[in-house]
Structures are given as C-alpha cells and as structure tokens.
Symmetry: C2
Subunit: 696 residues, 2 copies
C-alpha cells in the first residue's frame, strides 16, 4: 500500500515521458489518453466528464488521495491515509485506530488537527514564462535559481489574484511547467473509521499483495465557515461495484515515479541509493519495534510511523528487486539506446540535446563521490517531528526576510499558510519515541561521517548521540504549539537567542546543511535540471506529446480493465469476496495479523458473504494514489484504491500490464459493512443518495 511515506522517501529528486502502451500512464487532466481510450475501449471522455471527476477528487496533503462522495461534503479516503489523523486524535485511554470510530451525529464528529485537503480548480501552462526566465550566459545554478524565482512569482501572483493555493509544478522533466490552483480545506472532521484490524487485515505480510480482503476506508465531512461543504461535484455511488472486464478509471495523486531516469541514474539507485535507504529504514524500524515492545502505550504511539516505515521498506525491497532484474535493466538500456540514437541521428537535435545524458552521468558520478556528505549531513530521515519543527523554525525566520523569489522552497509566500497550519498543529508528540529515533539518526550519521565531520561536530558539540538527544528532548518545549508560534512570531531575534536545546542544535547545523545544499545545487541539481529539461524537450521532439509525465503528487487520471492475472502458477481472480476474508482468518487460526474484530465474528451470519470486498484493475498507480476513487464509464464510484500487488512494485521503473495491478475496496463491501456490521445505515444512506434518516 501506498502513502506519504513512500512518497517522501524518494531518491530521485530530479524527476524525469514514455510512449505509452497497454493501460499504462498517469495522465494529466489537460492531456487525457483519448486516443487509447477510443481505440481500446471505444470510450471518449467529454470535458464535462473530466471536469466532474477532477472536481470530485481530493488530495490529502499528508500523503494520499480521496473523493467527495455525497452532496454534503462527505469525503472518502483510506484508513491508512486517515491513520495519522486518527492517531493524533487518540489518547492512551481512547485509541480510535484500534477501536474504529463512528459519529452518529454531526456533533460527534472529531476535527482532524492538521489535515489539509486540496481540490484542483484550474491549471495553466506557464512553460514559456518559467523557461524564459533563464537568460543566455547563466550557469546551471543561476538557471535553477532563475526558474525557481519565476515559479515563486507566478505562484504569488496567482494567490494574490485568486486566493487559491497556487503551485507551479514541473512536468515532462521541465519540458513543461504548469500552474495548479487548488481550493484548500482545513476544517475536516472524522465521521467513520473501521477497526485497523479490518482496514489492514493481513498486516505487513499481506501489504502489497493480492488476493486481499481489507476494508481500508475512512470517511470525513468537510466544512467551510463551520458549515458542511455543499457541492454537485461529488461521485455518484454505485453499490454494485465493477464487473469483471469493466473499463475503470482512477483519479488521484501518484507521488513519484522513476520511469524516465537515465541509465546513469538507475545504476546509482541500484548500487548506492537503494541499499543505503533499506539499511536506514531497517535501523529506524528496529528502533520503533524496540520502543513499541516496551508496552501497549508505546506500541500505540509507534503505530502510524511503524506502519509507514514497514510499508516503505516492503515497497523499496520490491523496487530494488526490480532494479536487480537483468531483464528489466536490459529493457531500460534498450529504450535509452533507441532514444539517444534518434536524437544523435538528427544534427539539430543532437546539438541541442545530445550531451544531456553525459552531463547527467557526470553529475551522478559527482553525487556518488560525495554520497556520504549528501546523505548523512541531514536529519531528514530521523522521522523526528520535534527536530523537524526546530529546523523549520530556524529556517523560517531566516528565509522570511528574503525577497520571495530568493527563498528556499517551502518558504515562498504562496506556501506559508499551509506551512503554518502544519507547524502549529496541536497534534500530540511522543518525546520518548522522538528521543530514540533522533538518537539513532545521529548515531547513523556519526558512524558514516566520523566524529570530525563539521555536521557531527555541530550536531553533537562534543557529546554522544544518546546523551545529547536525551538531554535535549527532556527539556525542549517544542512539543507545545504555542511555544513554536511564539518563536516564529519573535522572528530571528527570538530564535537566535532561544536556549531551547533543539533550536540550539538546529541553529548549529543549519549553516552546514545550507552549505551542503548549495554544493548539491551547483554540482548536481542544477546540472541535472538543465540536462533533464533538454531530455524532456528531446522526447517531445522525437515522440511528440503522446505520453504522460512522471508522477508529481498532483492529480492524474489512470485507466484500465478490472481483470485478474497470472499468479503463482495459476490465475488470480479480478475480485475477492467476504468468504475469502473468513477463509484467511480461519486458515491462520485467527492469529494476528489475521485476526478479525469481534463484530466480524459475532455478526457473520448477517452478511451476504458473496459480497465482493476487493478487486484489481490494470490502472497504473503508485504511492500517493491511496484513497483514489475508482470510477466507471458513467463516472460513478465503484471502489477505492488502497494498494498495488507485489508485481506492481517494479512499476516505479516500468509498467507491465500482464501482472501490474491496482487493488481497491469494492463499493459493495463498504455498504454491506456499514449497514450490517457497524449499524451505520444513515451513513450508507448518505453514500447511496437515499433520503437521510432522522438520526442524521
């Protein structure tokens, strides 16, 4: 399964378009795969159809997707997307992650502490403006700064004129730049979540596999000005789910893909980045497991992050195996060789774009030569929320003084509202867990860099990771949102004189991190950005705009067929039923993670066990797509994406429709469970568009 963690822990920061075949592609709504849909499925989406799907789709900014499913602001996503918020509103006494939650009245709903939802309202092509900001004579770093500055300017102008969240995004490796404007919602209230044990039935073993039997859903109501959002742009509910062979679509926000990396980049991922990333994830996971083993409360605290890291680990193992597959590497090499041959065969193209691959290869070589510094002069993989607060505050007060276009990304005017929403979150922090994670991250950097590295000296100031962190975490006040706010409002003066030990540590390491960033931008990022823009343009020149850009956690449309696939010597069916849920539970003697919540045992007799619970389609998805609605030709909701099968993990690099499958919860199972297991008839009525009962 797939959420922010797989999306955050990405390696290729330099996103690189393919001549799409089969049901491949994560398509922007401005360039839908109309030719393929007409040819393969005899279906032509109208502008109205596309607009309606787009406006019904919701981005969950903590890393997933969702959709409006009622005229009264009901939004559906995955339990594992909502899990962070569920954890944040839970207490040692009341753990909604485990017990589930259902608000029988609007008054019982619980506000999510720091959840921002985005709806994509409009998009504009701003390629000419961004590319035009680069003047002849600029070096690559200057060009990078010029493009970023122009992007900030466009975003600010748009924000000022529309009031909408405005993001300029890089598509087709810089072949295009687009301004995306979002309607933003921050008053989002929890309505329903099942027990995690049924949402994530089968646990880590079954994660990223199929057949599955999970009810991975959660429901929120969205408010604006304390009133439920009313809209005609919601997906009409189809309670039958899809049939085998149906054409379906997925509208959501795939986080990142690496399908257009050059061979030099792929080889570095395989030989350096993945092995190191897996080592780090494994360390942190062991820290969390040890902490969680101290008792039930510690296990509860570690829950969301542990799930996320286990998810990331399993995903990356699958991706890494793909890179180790000689057939896949040979296919990628062949694609690159053919592309380069086309470019070099045209003198004009060769002159404009021909050197790009070698430039990337040279930059990659430099990156690997400085791999330790780039990777370990950082605490970004500590997964410590408090340290992230400290570093963000230290950076904030420095950046905010600069003219907007010159600030580092994340601190532009257009980004401040969302940044503050996140930074001043009232969500709880778990100091002991923070201590273990931050200690391990510093220990890892110490082991890699040695005690004399300036980053280590600054971070530890002569101490050892465990004592430095223990002391800092025990006396920091950064767990208090009001304290964080006072620092931000006090500006450079307040932050510069703060004696809060985490702020002090963040101040000491900030110059080194900035220096490292500058080096990377001058030596790698700038060069690769320019080279990739050349490759992006070369791709347009050679293949035309017949394809889709790499995933960028922005709204995309995938399409495909509900269909099984060859698996493990036999064939996997396109769907599973509730019979299968009980089979798998009983097959493991109801042992964790295959145990069922009590109501599933007690109320089994009420269920129609033939009800489909999960299904698969050839739709092309990846992490970030979690919670995406699956809709049919009529634009009706028939399911919700929550995972990919094990064969889909290599999809980060290459799509193969023979076995790559997206896994979804069937709409039929949602209604069956709400009505018969959760006594949530009114909620099922709202989904099915029936007149609401008196209770709601």
């Amino acid at each position: 399964m797939k959420r922010i963690l797989t999306f955050i822990i990405v390696f290729a920061l330099f996103l690189p378009c393919l001549s799409a075949m089969a049901d491949e592609g994560m398509w922007t709504f401005d360039n839908p795969p109309t030719k393929q849909l007409r040819k393969r499925y005899n279906f032509t989406p109208t502008k109205e159809w596309l607009d309606h799907i787009r406006l019904s789709s919701v981005r969950f900014n903590d890393g997933g997707s969702g959709s409006f499913v009622s005229p009264d602001g009901l939004v559906l996503t995955n339990h594992h997307v909502a899990r962070g918020q569920l954890q944040k509103v839970s207490t040692p006494q009341k753990d909604y992650v485990t017990t589930g939650f259902y608000a029988r009245t609007r008054a019982e709903e619980i506000k999510a502490p720091d959840l921002e939802l985005n709806v994509l309202i409009s998009t504009d092509d701003v390629t000419a403006r961004v590319q035009g900001a680069v003047k002849s004579g600029m070096d690559e770093k200057q060009a990078l700064d010029a493009r970023r500055g122009e992007m900030a300017r466009i975003e600010k102008e748009s924000l000022d004129s529309t009031g909408l969240r405005s993001d300029v995004i890089t598509l087709y490796q810089g072949g295009e730049y687009w301004l995306y404007r979002y309607k933003k919602y921050t008053d989002v209230r929890l309505v329903f979540a099942p027990e995690e044990q049924i949402a994530f039935f089968g646990g880590d073993p079954d994660n990223f596999t199929y057949p599955r039997y999970d009810l991975d859903i959660a429901l929120f109501h969205v408010y604006e000005n304390d009133k439920p959002v009313q809209s005609k742009d919601y997906l009409k509910w189809n309670s039958k789910g899809p049939a085998d062979g149906d054409l379906v679509f997925v509208s959501g926000n795939p986080g990142s893909t690496d399908r257009l990396l050059t061979m030099a980049q792929i080889e570095n991922e395989r030989d350096y980045l993945y092995p190191q990333a897996l080592k780090t994830l494994n360390r942190r996971l062991n820290v969390l497991k040890t902490y969680g083993a101290l008792g039930p409360e510690q296990a509860r605290q570690a829950g969301t992050l542990r799930l996320g890291l286990e998810n990331a680990y399993k995903a990356e193992v699958g991706e890494y195996k793909g890179l180790l597959d000689k057939d896949i590497i040979a296919k990628k090499q062949k694609d690159e060789d053919e592309f380069r041959k086309q470019v070099s065969g045209n003198p004009d193209w060769n002159k404009q774009f021909g050197n790009a691959w070698d430039e990337i290869a040279a930059a990659e070589k430099k990156e690997i030569g400085n791999f330790k510094q780039i990777r370990f002069r950082s605490l970004s993989r500590s997964f410590s929320g408090l340290m992230t607060y400290a570093q963000t505050i230290v950076q904030y007060v420095a950046e905010i003084k600069k003219p907007d276009p010159q600030r580092i990304d994340g601190f532009h005017d257009s980004q401040l509202e969302s940044l503050k929403f996140s930074l001043f979150s009232p969500a709880p922090v778990y100091p002991k867990q923070e201590e273990k994670l931050l200690t391990d991250s510093l220990q890892e950097s110490l082991e890699a860099l040695g005690p004399d590295d300036p980053f280590i000296k600054a971070a530890l100031n002569g101490g050892q990771p465990a004592e430095v962190v223990s002391s800092a975490i025990s006396s920091t006040k950064l767990g208090d949102a009001a304290f964080r706010k006072s620092l931000v409002e006090g500006g450079e003066q307040a932050v510069g004189t703060s004696t809060d030990p985490l702020i002090v540590m963040a101040r000491r390491i900030d110059p080194i991190i900035r220096e490292q960033r500058k080096w990377t931008e001058e030596n790698i990022a700038g060069i690769e950005a320019t080279a990739e823009e050349q490759i992006g343009k070369a791709r347009f020149a050679v293949y035309g705009k017949s394809s889709y850009p790499e995933a960028t956690f922005t709204l995309r449309l995938s399409y495909g067929t509900v269909t099984g696939y060859p698996m493990n010597g036999t064939v996997a069916p396109s769907k599973t039923t509730m019979f299968g849920l009980y089979d798998r539970a009983d097959s493991f003697d109801n042992k964790s993670p295959f145990n069922l919540p009590g109501r599933y045992v007690e109320r089994r007799g009420k269920l129609n066990l033939s009800t489909p619970i999960n299904f698969v389609s050839t739709c092309d998805i990846i992490g970030g797509n979690s919670g995406s609605p699956v809709v049919n030709r009529n634009g009706e909701f028939v399911g919700i994406i929550f995972d990919g099968n094990i064969e889909s993990l290599v999809g980060r690099f290459i799509y193969d429709d023979t076995t790559n499958r997206a896994v979804a919860v069937d709409s039929a199972a949602i209604i069956e469970a709400l009505r018969k297991l959760y006594d949530a008839g009114p909620l099922a009525d709202e989904l099915e568009g029936r007149p609401l009962g008196a209770a709601r």
Copy 2:
C-alpha cells in the same frame, strides 16, 4: 496433478542418493530417517508403527497410492487416481466422472475393470546376488543382461515359493538391489467418488498450486474370493485433521526423481529432452482438445487422458523452469564437484569409481547424437491404447518362447499375471480418439525422421499417416478383449498370420524397435547402468548410507511439518477452509473451472464453513504419491496427498523446504462433505469407526 502419466513420461531411464537435510527424503521402510526424526521431532518410530503404516498403504498400479481406512477393506485414494477406472465404467449415458458415484449398499458397488492394488508384504536385500551375477570380462551390455537375468530368476523363485507378486528393484543407482513382495488385489469395487468439478476444483489453472480447495478423493472396497478383505492393518481415522506445526508422515509410491543425475545428464535433459517432451505433449494435447471440442461425448472420452497430459505438461514446464534456473544448476554443479573431489582424493576410490562421470558424459553425447532415432522410432508417446495392445501382443508371443531370464522386461514369468490382467481388460476404447492420437504420433515421427527412415517405411508402408491409421483403426478388432486373448493364446502362429492391420503394423515395426533397443542398451543403457552403480557405491563410500534412493514407484516414507510458506510477497497458511472454496468460486463468478456442483450451492447453509479442506506440509513427495495417506505420530489418518505446490515442481531435481509443499485433503472435510453434502453417513461412520447403520 501426479499420477501415472507424470511417472510414465520420464526421461531419465537410468535412475540414479543425497545427504538429506531438512525434511527431505523419500525413505525406504528398511532405512527410515530415525536420526532426523529423533533430532528434529523427538520422535522414534517403532517397528510396529512402521509395519502398520506399510501394511496399511496401497499402491494403485495405474499410477498412484492409497491406504486402507477401515477394517472391512475400504481403500481411499484420489479422485484423479480413480479417474481412469471411473471413465472405464462410465458410458455416454451415465458419466460417473461428472456426476460422481455413491454405492449405498455393497450390491450397488461397481467393479473396477483393470485395477490392480499392491500391498508391500516383505522386502529382502538381494544386492549380493544381483551384483554377483556380473563376472569379470563381461562388457557393459553383458553385465546389463546378467543383472537382469538374475533379477528375473530371483523374482520367479519368490513367486513360486510365496505366490506373492515379486519385483526386484534397483536402489541407490545399483548400490543396492531389493526384492519386494506384494499382496495383489484385483477385485476392487467403487464405493464413492464426488463430482470431478469438486475433486479437481480450479482445474488446470489451480493444478500444482496452493492455496487449494479440492475434495480429491475416491473410495473403493477391496474383495478377495468375493468377500470384503478384513484386516487390522488399516489407518485409524482422525476426524480433526492435523494442527499447524504438527509432525506428519506420508506413506506412498513416488514415481521417479532425478536428484542424482550427473551434470552431463542434467544438461541433456535441459537442452534436449525437456524441450522435445514439451513439444510432443503440446501436440497430443492439441489433438485431444480438437477431438474433445467435437461434442460432449468426445469431450467425455478425451477426459482422463487430457487431464493426464495437461498435468504432465504443467509439471514438466515447472521442472524445465527449474533446469533453466542458473542458481539451481550452480548448486547441482557444486554438489557434483565436491563429491568428485572426495572420490578423486582417495586413490582407491578414484581407481574404482573415478571414471564413472566421464563414461556417462560420453554415453550422453552418443545419446544426443542419435536422439531422433531413439526418440522417434517409437510409438510409446502416441497414447494409443490399441497400438499398445498390438505391440504388446506381438512382443508377447516372441518373448514367451525364450528362457525367462533372457526376456525383455515386462514379459518375465513373475510379471505375466499383471500383464494379462491389463492386456485383457474389458475397458472401453474410443476408436476415433485413438485414430487422432496415433496419426499425430506417426506424423511427428515422419516429420522428425523423414520418409526414408526404416521405421517410417515399416510403419506407413508407403502411405500417409492419416490414411494408414484411419484404415487400420476402422478395421482392427483389438478393441475386443476376447480377440486379444485369442491372439495371445494362438501364439506366434496366430499373431504371425493375423491380418488385423494394427497387428500387421506392429509386426513390421517390431524388428526396428528391437534393433533400436539393442543399440541403446549396448551404447548407452549398459554403460550408464555400470557407471551409475559405481557412483552409487562411491556415494556409500563417501557419505555412508545416510540418505534415500531416487524414487522408483515403490513404497516410501516421507516426513515433515504442517506449515505455511512465503508466497507471492506474503505467507500462505498451512491450511484452507471451506470458506475459501466459496470465495474462489464467487471470485470467478462461478465460471468453469471454478464452478461448484449443485449440491455445494444448495446445501451451503448446512456446512460448517470453517472446516479445513486442504493443508500443506514439508513432506517430500512427487508424482505417484497421489492418494498417499498423511498420518500423525499416532499413525492416524489425518489427510490424503493430492498435489504439490508450484514451487515443488523443481523437487524432481532438488528439494528446498522453504517453499516445497505437499498438498493434502484434510480428513475433517471428507467427513463434513460425506455427511452434509452426500447423505453418506454410513460411509462416514465406516471411516470414523462408528457402529455401522442398518443401511450397510
């Protein structure tokens, strides 16, 4: 899965022992793995325990295994082992394969037309006598004949003195020879078979896979002198089935393994034998599919053979993939290198055994050089029953005149009773199907050998396969058992003057087949037999008798744990339940081969769907083990083997307990189904050892 077909279509005719680890091994009852059982499981089988299991075990001579499960001669095997007999007693009007069968009274039972069951009564080591028959100065062919002659003499003496079926078998590649004496039963009457659709639920796709949900069982009563056999040697029924983690045993007749082939033999299998075998199987399957598509009666006729060929094809594809796996080949090479190094490091061993591998390699080279002649001057892969009758009769009258020790194998005095039982079977033949199969086989030989090959000239006599075979099949009387009997009784005179066209064809090709056999024995079989005996002795010298011999379709004991395994990114449970059966049927919208017999739909409400239906264990099995009982420490019946998982197919060459699993029907499901679906309470009572009801 696994029955005579996988066993008949073997390539390595030269059966080759391993230092067993994990739960590996198909052990003879005279050399059980007591050390491993004590160490791993703290279990020591007593002589009584071993004798009881052995005497309760039954060999089905048409290619499977079974066991006595009541004091009144009730024998349990797989539906797919019984399928041949079910087909033979069916008619176009009454197809027991499809509808199933249940004899509510003894009077309603149906006698199987040509089913011979064997129970292993005693075993004697006759190594000294067989090896002693080879005198110094004999060449390899003479040695081969000397050993075979002595084996025939031993068998004849034993038959004459005990009246028991007596077979001398070659174990440990000729390191040992053993006389096995069997009690033989030929009055075997069908009691119960379920619908094939539930016995083989999931069909060819699910064959050789797991999780499974099959009720692959059939029950016979065994008679002697028209009275039910009474015996204390039957397996006590345990209706609970095994628990996860239990130690279990499998007692059955694995057909053949290729774990001790030399690298030269393995490479020839990979590069020549498997590719050709798969091509041939594919041709015949296409013939059967085309024939079966002509109508329901043709489909019925083709049923058993089609199932068998599909089973063989899928098994051989899995085995072939194993041979193409470079890791497996490297492991085999390493094992051989280490073994040879030990041998060559000891001057005495080196002198006695050191040349054996090179001798086999030279013989293999010769085999490949004459591959076409060896492979295509034969109709043994025609799968034509009538042609087999014709060739057997022509050979019989010639062989029977010779002194017993000089006859070719199959025609020794000790073998004649079983041979005649099979040759004079009253079972129906399907002439049109025979015609298609024999034509295809001759066409294939013609294509491979060309029209001028003496075999082709003799077989076709100037004609074309289709016309020659069509004419022959339309006028042959060999479908009539009385006619076959009259020819055999008429001896060389009757056969030599017969104008039956299939007899005429068999007469014409017989000298060429004999010549080819002689060439093979002189140039390959004799040399490899001698060399393999040396390797077998070398293995005893280096490793001691710490291992098990290759499978020889004789009684073996396997042991292991009921346990799941890593599968497809997650973990497969050790058992499945009846819930899973309904899940898989509904998941495929009840489409064939995932459709359920009517009673399973109508009576679903009566079933306890938590009842385990299939389970897996690490027991080491292969084709021929179908129908083998699975027993617990107490020697109680807890299940019946019917398949291996897809990961077990490579088990022909190498055993890996991480994923190799034997798949069995759970005893609990058998009782549940008999009582609640088939109204077969009295039969369930007989199995469970309850007082019989009045009806039986």
